[in-house]
């Protein structure tokens, strides 16, 4: 069987995703975990590219890889020593969790494989920024202005929440 470029890319990306996600959850050094996560996220962005979702891929890179991971790393720096190594996970917990995860995986995968997805006959929509922008601001069917507004509320609320929680209380400062 000959590999097409796409297939090769897929194999690489998925390989990276699987490998590094496993590493992310198993490594005993926290900063490495963050780094591995970054790899996973970037590979995911790669997959998005592969599937022609460039905008999404860009968001993935900026927001996820750029934003969240950085946030995480900052917080790691705030709360942990870089060189800190976790204690190994208790084997009981590990085996049970692994069993649960594998069982779930098997159930999900077999179920998915048993299902015959039927493709929509419609022609693929061209995805460019124009379309995305328009749908994002459209309030018609298939328009996303409402979620867009709501997510802004969410962001605001999250911001305020984060500030309220994270800022040092006045009483404490006085102490």
């Amino acid at each position: 069987m000959e590999l097409t470029g796409n297939q090769l890319m897929f194999i690489i990306f998925s390989g990276v995703i699987v490998l590094f996600s496993i590493l992310t959850v198993t490594t005993r050094r926290i900063l490495r975990a963050a780094t591995y996560l970054l790899f996973v996220l970037i590979s995911t962005a790669g997959i998005y590219f592969m599937l022609n979702f460039q905008f999404l891929a860009a968001i993935q890179l900026t927001l996820y890889a750029g934003g969240i991971v950085v946030l995480i790393i900052f917080s790691i720096l705030l709360t942990s020593h870089i060189s800190q190594k976790f204690e190994p996970v208790g084997w009981k917990k590990m085996i049970l969790s692994a069993l649960a995860s594998i069982a779930g995986m098997i159930v999900c995968i077999t179920t998915i494989l048993n299902y015959k997805f039927s493709a929509n006959a419609a022609i693929a929509q061209e995805i460019n920024m124009d379309v995305i922008g328009k749908s994002l601001l459209s309030y018609e069917h298939n328009g996303y202005v409402l979620p867009f507004e709501v997510i802004s509320v969410l962001l605001l609320a999250a911001m305020i929440s984060a500030i309220v929680i994270a800022k040092k209380g006045k009483t404490q400062q006085e102490k």
Partner: protein, 106 residues
Amino acid sequence: MSHAGIPLHYFLIVSTIMFFVGVYGFLTRKNLITMLMSIELILNSVNINFVAFNRYLYPDGLHGQFFSIFIIAVAACEAAVAIAIIINIYRRFRTISVEDVSEMKF
């Protein structure tokens, strides 16, 4: 039902694996922040699902893509608040080991 020679199922399998790896991480990691990372894995795998479905089955719409975008945004919010709380935890407990954060039980 194949895009660029890769069947849909491959994507779904990869995402499912990633999902459950995330779950595994959530169940085993001791550090609150690494648990948060596991959550990100989970959300990512869901995104792949959405995107793959969108591309393979329903290419005429953008639901999958937009869903993914919003998931990413929500994940950011969630991470922000979670990290704020975790920092507060660190302040209070001087640790962010999840096993130590269990004053309340039974």
